[in-house]
Symmetry: none
Subunit: 210 residues, 4 copies
């Protein structure tokens, strides 16, 4: 039993080390890609940024493309993990929930601007499987927002001719904070951007059906 414990402790230590190395490398990767883009990032540059040797990278990732995929999946995880809690925290009102959710969405985008941009720019680089996985996650990622709008419509607080499209528009406009940051940063903070977009959308969503 003592041995079992020791073993599982060892395993846990190793698992932790593996995880933190991956984190370190992913962070470095995103940092380099932010400067140079995925294709311009050489493995040597990544190694330098992460302060490790080139060879070590290959102990934690299968290759360059694997790193890109991991970086992208990473931020999709952030959406999945953070959206629901943020919305639950503001109570039951669908409009409030929607606002909270979209705000957090933009915040996550803001914290991962470069990785979001990668999703758009380098997806053709990925395997078909990797691409499919991303597409799927991108859709489910917006589920909490979709649910809030659905609840609003059910409750009569919201009206919308095409709720599906409206949700997807929100997602895309959220991404746009990363993609067109060069344009918006002069005008808005991330929170202001989220609010401005939401105000615009809420007018549409709340309008009486034509």
């Amino acid at each position: 039993m003592a041995q079992d414990e020791a073993l599982s402790t060892e395993d846990a230590v190793r698992a932790f080390r593996v995880h933190s190395r991956r984190r370190q490398l992913l962070d470095a990767a995103v940092a380099v890609m932010q400067r140079t883009g995925f294709h311009q990032m050489s493995m040597q540059a990544l190694a330098d940024e992460a302060q490790v040797s080139v060879g070590l990278i290959y102990k934690y990732f299968g290759g360059k493309e694997d790193i890109l995929l991991a970086a992208i999946l990473d931020i999709l995880d952030a959406f999945r993990d953070q959206l629901q809690p943020a919305m639950d925290a503001v109570g039951d009102d669908p409009v409030e929930r929607l606002r909270a959710g979209f705000r957090r969405y933009v915040e996550v985008v803001d914290a991962n601007r470069d990785a979001v941009a990668l999703t758009y720019g380098e997806s053709r680089t990925l395997t078909v499987e990797g691409r499919e996985r991303i597409k799927e996650l991108e859709v489910t990622t917006a589920d909490p927002l979709r649910a809030a709008i659905g609840a609003g419509i059910a409750a009569g607080t919201l009206t919308c001719a095409d709720a599906d499209l409206a949700v997807y528009d929100l997602v895309m406009l959220g991404h746009m904070w990363a993609l067109k940051h060069w344009r918006f940063r002069e005008r808005y903070t991330a929170a202001q951007y989220a609010d401005a977009q939401l105000d615009l959308s809420l007018v549409a969503l709340s309008a009486p059906p034509r």
Copy 2:
């Protein structure tokens, strides 16, 4: 003078040839990039696609990056050339003009889906100057749409709290037809997409000020 004429005719012929070669190469480039992306496109592959030799490409373009820039500028030119006429053709009603303009915008995007995607994906590849030029053009490209909304507001047919943002959202959602084509093609044609997005936006633009 006879000689002058001869010369200018020769020049015209040459200019035409240069222009059509550039066209041929740009079309080929977009075709290859559509399949492989910019970085994966080798100059040999481009030459094969265009049915010319590698060396010839360098007579018409400064290098690989130059081709990317030209391809991107090309589609921005299409917006500039086609938006205004399409809007003028439908008369004076601002809403009609807006609808006509956005429809054509999406049509142009649809005809150049790959090039539009390039604008997002590979912009980091470009020189700072190239990038600036694109950003600038992207903004002016939307001017006719902006003008239509302005006219609508002036005429009282449209109301909008943040017209600037609304215009830019239209532009981005237009681009999205290219960027998220994998998702929308199952639901819409390009024209349907344009209409659906515009309907959603018009609700917002037309709503009474809160």
Copy 3:
């Protein structure tokens, strides 16, 4: 027709150039492998030896392994091309033909000692297909020798319990001139080695059946 001729001339010129480049590279490859072995030979070293750039090698060969295969096939071709003529030149007597054939066999081995050694050393490196092709050729290569022994037996000049094995032994002992050159060069020239081995074998082949 003039154009056709021009074209075929161009093609012929190109074919010649391609062929001589391949020769040049194969010779260089064999030279480097002789010093370092296949695996130790870097493409850079090969390029240096052949006085070309690394990149050029890949225009003429698919890769490193392809060079190895080509080098090996090359010498098998030499056997195929040279054995029969050398045997025909000495007339009809089976024993004379056998001697002439084996002598030439050893001469070809001698001229390609390094390539022969490669056949033994690096065959595991090759693709299964490449390996199969070599095995097959190695057997057919000895056909003229086999035929001579067969003729001798038919004519009653030779006797042999196991002609097939005897032929294959000759082939292997021929290869041995390359493989154990370090040992035999102190004792024999290539021609002396061929004669000595043949004398030994002829005793066996000529002996009355037990």
Copy 4:
């Protein structure tokens, strides 16, 4: 004295452990090389095969090349250790001794086919010293066979124009069981191969001088 004894016991234990570790590693090495060849064998693959860590290998061998040399010397030791006893076991008749010796030679080759192939394939990889050592051993290895033929000639049971060459041919044809195994395994077992080759050679060795 007690301490001395203890020490020497300890030493013996250590020596035994060292020896068995080396055995374990050499066996694993031969097994991996059989599948992949020497150069393709990574130290990690060897460690996996031997069920030890990479680091441990370097406690018992100086490096990768050292393992190759050890594996080759190992089989040469087997010849040295097994040939003489096998020949002594069949009595005094030179022909019988020769047959017994060659049979055992082929048996040892058969048991170490891969290591024998290594001797031919990877010798260029070794240091000059290592190579010299192997050449030397390879010659002395055949001494018992040479002695048997000598005895046969002295006794008048055997006749041979070039006994030295005949012995060396036997050695090489023995090796060939490993090198051309792909060809012979369809026809012979190891014992049958040994007998067939010996029958052929004995005709030559026994023939009356010309």
